[in-house]
């Protein structure tokens, strides 16, 4: 059983977590063609190597980010999502 070091709860068995897949920041949909949008929705890098991923600690429903090597399964580091998503996101037309 792997150990995942949760930024909130510390090292835990990885069975306490769910995998959220690769961090794939959403592009500005107003600037994409239909096909480009479909590519964003469906295509995966599926990288063999170190990947930045979403993980959620189930007992606390806490989402964070882990950098994991998908060949060795080594978890390189983990940190709060706020270190990547630093500021409020608004969409054109939406009032803040």
């Amino acid at each position: 059983m792997k150990i995942m070091n949760c930024p909130l709860n510390g090292p835990r068995n990885i069975s306490e977590f769910v995998w959220g897949g690769e961090v794939k920041p959403m592009p500005d949909e107003t600037k994409l063609s239909d096909r480009e949008w479909a590519e964003y929705v469906f295509l995966e890098n599926n990288t063999a190597g170190v990947v930045r991923e979403w993980w959620c600690h189930v007992p606390t429903s806490y989402w964070f980010i882990a950098e994991r090597n998908t060949i060795t399964d080594e978890i390189v580091k983990t940190y709060p999502a706020s270190e990547v998503f630093k500021s409020r996101v608004d969409f054109a037309g939406a009032k803040p």
Binding site: D34, V41, K86, V89, G93, A94
Partner: protein
């Protein structure tokens, strides 16, 4: 001999047997006859003590098999014990009344009809089943049952039920696996750093080989080392010893399963010392599988651990000093040693070999056993032929033959490296020691003792100390100076490079489990399977119950030679967990399967509800006996339509969405718009994923500017909650989302008379249609309980959903039931609710939608906001709008009253093609006709279009598309 001596078998030795307690006789049965042994005996030792040498029948040829290792590393002693098949007789200790039976025989154990297979064995070459039986399709149909019937070993008891197994987590700073000299030294040294040390050993007594092996003529060396090492372990206060405990694997981040009794431990250690020792390897010669032929270490175990005489007259085949030690062991118990056959051309003169010479025992140097002899039934070895070694694997004609009832094989070892290999360690074959040796070991893992190629006792102890020291340091302990290394001249003399001697008449077993002979491997290679892994799959070498512990190395050697490849470049086949077989029961343990019950759960049971699972919740399907299902559902529906009834809706998901951005957040998560939803009002919510697929629905209730209470489907809410949190981790809106599903119990009181019932319980809310209209939401008290009230229309009648804190749920239920007596209120279940909502044309996500349904197919464009800049799945939904619609969800009815109601998932057919399916259908009690929803071809989606439905028996019936809802289209009743 005294009476006590006589007990426990005629082969029982006086004054020996470290593991048995002669004061405690034990009687058990084997194949129906009673056997006497002592407490501490294994089944095998007790049987040997009583002269029962054949313990099992081999897998393919049903040859008699006996003790090989006496430590459970082989499959020669597999027996059946009650409902436990494939039990290792040389590991399992006897108990009073234990009923032991042989396995894998036809007719009787002693004269097994299955032996015929060997008579025709020359017609059954390696992989024969690939080469024939397929002349016609029917050929294999004929032969397969015959082949299949021969398969397998132990039997299943179809009526058995698994016993009580459980699990426990363990934690340690340093775990030491193996309680032999290396493990003892490692534990003692690691303990000095003060951390928690866990010493795990598979035997009942610590000490490993020190309990049976001989390192000098007098045998004192072992005793001395044993004493010192054990004392050091006992002296340390921080070493926990687990005996009789088997480590079956080594998984990521030092995660270790340990089996002891009926408990399965899972150990997490900061550092691990693997001191699992090595596995003595058999020699390959004709009839090397006969009972009475065993590993030298097996004989020593019988003598010293169990006080059992392995034989009266022995021939010892050796290639190292251990064979001479075994000769001395045999002499000391008064057995004769006919000869020592040494594979080495000129064995080094050692203290032990000199002692053997002094005893006047002939030594055949540079010789091997050409074949072993037996009587007709093959039940025991009776003699051997000895021949000089002429070259690698080649023998000259035999020069001598000896009668004997015991043959010991002591020709070398292979590291018990399974755990290290599982953990990713790299081993390579050393042409110096002729063994695989560790080259690369992952951080936090340390190897000591013979698994690491250390054999000399001083070197083993030093290796243990060094590994224990390194482990303690890795675990963060404060350690002193690194213990010194001791070099070992001996290791190179332990293992012979080629103890394999094919015979013209065959019968030289390389793999005992699978009855594979030398030629089978040679021929497999000749067939083109010249890679170790391919040969394993083609010949099945190493695939038996002992997973190649005695055949893998021989197989690699043979492949290397046959293909002219360098042994050092080859590895044994992948070592997969478990190291020794684990019971299903161990792995299952206590089966933890959490379930959720609503506050009213027991009330439903008291009312005779049939419960059904909904996610991990239990919900009442309907109330009444199974036999009266239809009647019960119909009556429950009628109660809602005509009077009043209540349903437990506690399992409905509930989310509190609060904060300045609450409305904006819902706008992004759902397809509708919520910014302008008035306080005190509710609105439908529909959720789609990034691909525009419908994933959930519910209602959003606005209790204040900044507070929405959003419902979600029972099985969907956890995913909805999780995705909300994940999205807002990216958006950073000023909103807080809380999953309060379990915190609120919910009751929906529905029916034309629901208002008058509720009025009796609710004073502080004006329930009148004007003050509290349809789709309104209020907060107040019901029966003195703080409550959230929702006027929702899922079932299409006047109704109130009452949400109260869980702790009050049962009291609320009791109060409503009580208050509704005058109206004859009754409970209704999920089945009736499904009928009611279908009559109203409401979809159930995941029943009326599937993994690909989008809002256009579900015909819900009305739920899509036109003006919002964004919602999850919005762009994909727009893209799909431009594409041809392939199916559409519609309501339908059957005009011909004689037609049966279609089942859910009956197909909708157009021009012979499948265009859709019925998602819901019911013979509506309220409308007196069949109504349903189905996916149809878009061309047939308009009201009054005809559709063809294929029902049971392939019959086609005609349905007519009708506008939804079926019941009360104007919605007057729910808005009363």
């Amino acid at each position: 001999m005294t009476a006590e001596m006589n007990w426990g078998g005629t082969n029982r030795l006086p004054n020996r047997g470290a593991l048995i307690d002669r004061s405690r006789p034990v009687t058990f049965s084997f194949e129906g006859s009673l056997v006497e042994g002592f407490e501490g005996d294994t089944i095998a030792s007790a049987l040997c003590a009583n002269g029962q040498w054949m313990i099992s029948r081999s897998f393919k040829y049903h040859r008699p098999r006996g003790v090989l290792t006496m430590i459970g590393q082989d499959a020669n002693t597999l027996v059946q014990i009650g409902d436990e098949p494939n039990c290792l007789a040389d590991k399992r200790r006897i108990a009073p009344g234990l009923v032991v039976e042989g396995q894998n025989y036809f007719g009787s154990f002693d004269s097994d009809a299955g032996r015929f297979v060997e008579w025709v064995s020359k017609f059954l070459p390696v992989g024969f089943y690939y080469k024939t039986f397929h002349e016609k399709r029917s050929s294999w149909r004929f032969w397969e049952p015959i082949v299949r019937a021969m398969a397998g070993l132990g039997k299943i008891d179809p009526h058995a039920h698994h016993g009580y197994f459980d699990k426990q987590y363990l934690f340690a700073d340093v775990a030491v696996i193996g309680g032999g000299p290396a493990g003892l030294a490692a534990a003692a040294e690691a303990a000095k750093a003060g951390g928690e040390v866990l010493l795990i050993d598979e035997n009942p007594k610590l000490g490993g080989c020190l309990n049976y092996a001989r390192f000098d003529e007098s045998g004192e060396a072992a005793c001395k080392a044993d004493g010192e090492l054990l004392n050091a372990v006992k002296a340390a206060g921080n070493i926990r010893v687990m005996s009789d405990a088997v480590v079956t694997g080594l998984f990521a981040d030092n995660w270790i399963p340990v089996v002891r009794g009926n408990r399965f431990y899972k150990l997490r250690a900061k550092a691990i010392v693997v001191a699992t020792g090595s596995i003595e390897q058999p020699a390959v010669f004709r009839n090397n599988d006969l009972p009475g032929i065993m590993l030298g270490s097996a004989a020593q175990r019988l003598i010293h651990l169990y006080g059992v005489r392995p034989g009266k007259r022995a021939v010892i085949l050796t290639a190292n000093d251990d064979g001479y030690a075994q000769a001395i062991d045999l002499l000391k118990i008064g057995s004769a040693v006919a000869t020592v056959v040494d594979l080495r051309a000129d064995p080094p003169q050692t203290a032990l070999s000199k002692a053997v010479a002094r005893a006047g025992i002939t030594v055949h140097a540079g010789s091997a056993i050409a074949e072993a002899y037996h009587h007709g039934n093959k039940e025991h070895v009776v003699g051997v032929a000895v021949a000089p070694v002429a070259g690698e694997g080649q023998l000259s004609d035999p020069t001598a033959s000896y009668e004997c009832d015991l043959v010991l094989m002591s020709v070398g070892y292979s590291p018990a490296a399974h755990l290290l290999l599982q953990a990713g360690a790299k081993f390579a074959y050393s042409t110096a020691s002729h063994m695989f040796e560790p080259r690369e070991i992952p951080a936090g893992l340390y190897a000591a003792g013979s698994v690491a190629g250390q054999f000399n006792l001083d070197q083993v102890a030093a290796g243990g100390r060094r590994a224990g020291w390194a482990a303690a340091r890795h675990a963060g302990g404060t350690v002193g100076a690194e213990p010194a290394e001791v070099s070992d001249p001996g290791a190179a003399q332990q293992t012979h490079p080629w103890p394999i001697f094919p015979h013209a008449k065959g019968g030289e077993f390389v793999d005992f489990d699978e009855d594979l002979k030398y030629d089978d491997l040679i021929n497999g290679i000749a067939d083109g399977f010249d890679n170790v892994e391919l040969l394993k799959r083609y010949s099945t070498v190493g695939m038996g119950p002992s997973q190649g512990k005695h055949s893998a190395v021989a197989a690699v050697r043979i492949v290397a030679r046959e293909t002219g490849r360098d042994l050092a470049a080859l590895t044994v086949t992948t070592q997969r967990p478990p190291y020794t077989p684990e019971k299903f029961g161990h792995l299952a343990g206590r089966i933890f399967d959490p379930e959720r019950r609503t506050a009213m759960h027991h009330r439903h049971l008291e009312l005779g509800a049939q419960m059904m699972p909904a996610g991990i919740w239990w919900r009442p399907a309907y109330y009444g006996p199974k036999a009266e299902r239809e009647k019960a559902i119909r009556e429950e529906v009628n109660a809602v339509r005509n009077d009043v009834a209540l349903i437990d809706v506690s399992t409905l998901g509930g989310l509190d969405v609060r904060g300045p951005d609450a409305a904006e957040f819902l706008n992004r998560m759902y397809t509708f718009t919520y910014a302008k939803l008035a306080v005190g009002k509710s609105r439908y919510v529909l959720m789609t994923d990034q691909a525009g697929v419908i994933t959930d629905d519910g209602v959003a209730c606005r209790f204040s500017e900044e507070h929405f209470y959003v419902t979600a489907t029972t099985s969907g809410v956890d995913a909805v909650y999780r995705s909300m949190l994940q999205w807002n981790a990216q958006w950073r809106l000023d909103v807080d989302v809380a999953n309060v599903t379990a915190a609120y119990a919910g009751v929906n009181i529905a029916g034309p008379k629901s208002r008058q019932v509720l009025q009796r319980l609710c004073q502080d809310i004006d329930l009148s249609a004007e003050a509290f209209p349809y789709l309104g939401v209020r907060e107040g008290t019901v029966a003195g309980i703080p409550a959230r009230l929702l006027r929702v229309g899922f079932v299409g009648e006047l109704g109130y959903e009452i949400h109260v804190p869980y702790g009050y749920g049962e009291a609320l239920w009791d109060a409503v039931v009580e208050a509704g007596q005058p109206e004859g209120i009754r409970p209704f279940g999920v089945e009736a609710q499904r009928v009611l909502r279908l009559e109203k044309g409401h979809i159930i996500v995941s029943q009326d939608t599937d993994g690909l349904t989008n809002a256009w197919e579900a015909d819900m464009p009305w739920a899509l906001a036109k003006t919002k800049p964004f919602f999850v799945g919005g762009r994909s939904t727009q893209i799909m709008a431009k594409m041809p619609l392939l199916r559409k969800l519609v309501g339908f009815t059957l005009d011909d009253p004689a037609l049966p109601c279609p089942e859910e998932c009956h197909l909708v057919i157009k021009g012979g093609e499948i265009v859709g399916r019925v998602t819901s259908a019911v013979n509506s009690p309220s409308l007196g006709k069949v109504v349903g929803m189905a996916y149809v071809h878009p061309a047939d989606a308009a009201p009054d279009s005809k559709i063809q439905i294929k029902i049971d028996g392939g019959r086609m019936i005609e349905g007519r598309v009708v506008k939804l809802p079926f019941y009360d289209p104007e919605g007057k009743r729910q808005e009363m």
